[in-house]
């Protein structure tokens, strides 16, 4: 899409805003609608948006496929690891009270933050990986075909 000047300028403006918004949704999920899943999808949407306008090669330079593929598994590991960590501290699996025994609601905050991070990482990875898988296959479509 080399000739779409307006699209490209707007994309550059919007991508960073979308990523910032996704982080807001992630870390403000305790207080307002949203959470790891929504934030992950919005984060992935930012990269997909960039990829749609600037092409697959450019977005893969920013966010290489090998990182994306590892993120998919890393998120599940963060989530499951949180559970094993609380078990290691002598509590039940995924019992967040383990992280601050004297102040259980703080422990809950830490636990929720950790698992939401895991969800964010996995969802972002999976969404971007699926987009890469679809977009990486020939044939590429020219603008006129639509």
């Amino acid at each position: 899409m080399q000739h779409h000047l307006i699209l490209r300028v707007i994309t550059k403006l919007l991508v960073s805003t979308i990523i910032l918004f996704s982080l807001y949704v992630q870390f403000h999920g305790d207080f307002s609608p949203g959470g790891g899943f929504q934030a992950g999808v919005i984060m992935a949407a930012a990269f997909i948006f960039y990829g749609l306008v600037f092409g697959l090669e450019n977005v893969q330079r920013v966010f290489p496929p090998w990182i994306v593929h590892r993120m998919m598994a890393l998120g599940v590991m963060i989530y499951a690891g949180t559970g094993f960590f609380s078990m290691f501290l002598g509590y039940d699996y995924l019992d967040y009270n383990a992280f601050a025994p004297h102040h259980p609601s703080h422990g809950q905050h830490y636990g929720i933050l950790a698992v939401e991070l895991g969800v964010l990482v996995t969802v972002t990875g999976v969404m971007v990986a699926i987009y890469y898988a679809f977009a990486g296959r020939p044939p590429q479509v020219s603008d006129e075909d639509w």
């Binding site: 609608p33 949407a45 809950q108 636990g111 639509w146």
Partner: protein
């Protein structure tokens, strides 16, 4: 009153969008209308005060899945094939199924009914205790991440599995074709 009018308007637009989707043959406009459909659904969730669900619907239904459907069109065909058989039998099946679904909803509790079975199980406990247990204003987050932490772990695993499945199905094939091409050359 105003909510009822908005609901009726949204449902009317939803039906109109669905009819427009059925009538189109160009798949590009079908995908775009499907995005509109998702967005209208998200608005309906907002009027039901289910903002978390609305958020997900808007991001996934209207955003990501539209892009994925466009990617699919790019791989396959731009136009739907014209139907070769008459639409009477499919229409009959759809009409009967729709009537059965409407008949099924007659037995369901009213929207927002505090005595609905879904409201009587663990819900009241979560709502009552979440402020003391978690000290979080958004009870949806408390339920998803802590009370039902196992379920969310399972969901994350499902998302992961879906990603792996797509990668195995699509990337694997592309790589194999490329290798075959290289061997032929």
């Amino acid at each position: 009153m105003i909510v009822t009018i908005i609901d009726i308007l949204l449902f009317f637009m939803l039906v109109m969008t669905a009819l427009a989707i059925v009538n189109r043959r160009r798949l590009f406009s079908v995908v775009m209308l499907a995005g509109v459909f998702s967005l209208l659904t998200a608005l309906l969730f907002v009027t039901m005060d289910a903002v978390d669900v609305a958020f997900t619907e808007a991001a996934v239904g209207a955003g990501i899945s539209t892009v994925l459907m466009l990617g699919t069109i790019a791989q396959t065909s731009r136009r739907e094939k014209d139907p070769t058989r008459s639409g009477v039998l499919p229409f009959f099946v759809v009409a009967v199924t729709g009537a059965a679904l409407v008949y099924g909803t007659l037995d369901m509790p009213n929207f927002g009914d505090p005595n609905a079975p879904a409201q009587l199980h663990v819900g009241p406990d979560y709502l009552k205790n979440s402020v003391e247990d978690m000290d979080l204003p958004n009870v949806v987050t408390s339920i998803l991440a802590s009370y039902r932490g196992y379920d969310t772990l399972g969901e994350t695993a499902v998302v992961f599995t879906a990603g792996i499945g797509v990668l195995l199905l699509i990337s694997g094939l592309a790589g194999r074709r490329r290798r075959e091409d290289e061997e032929e050359n």
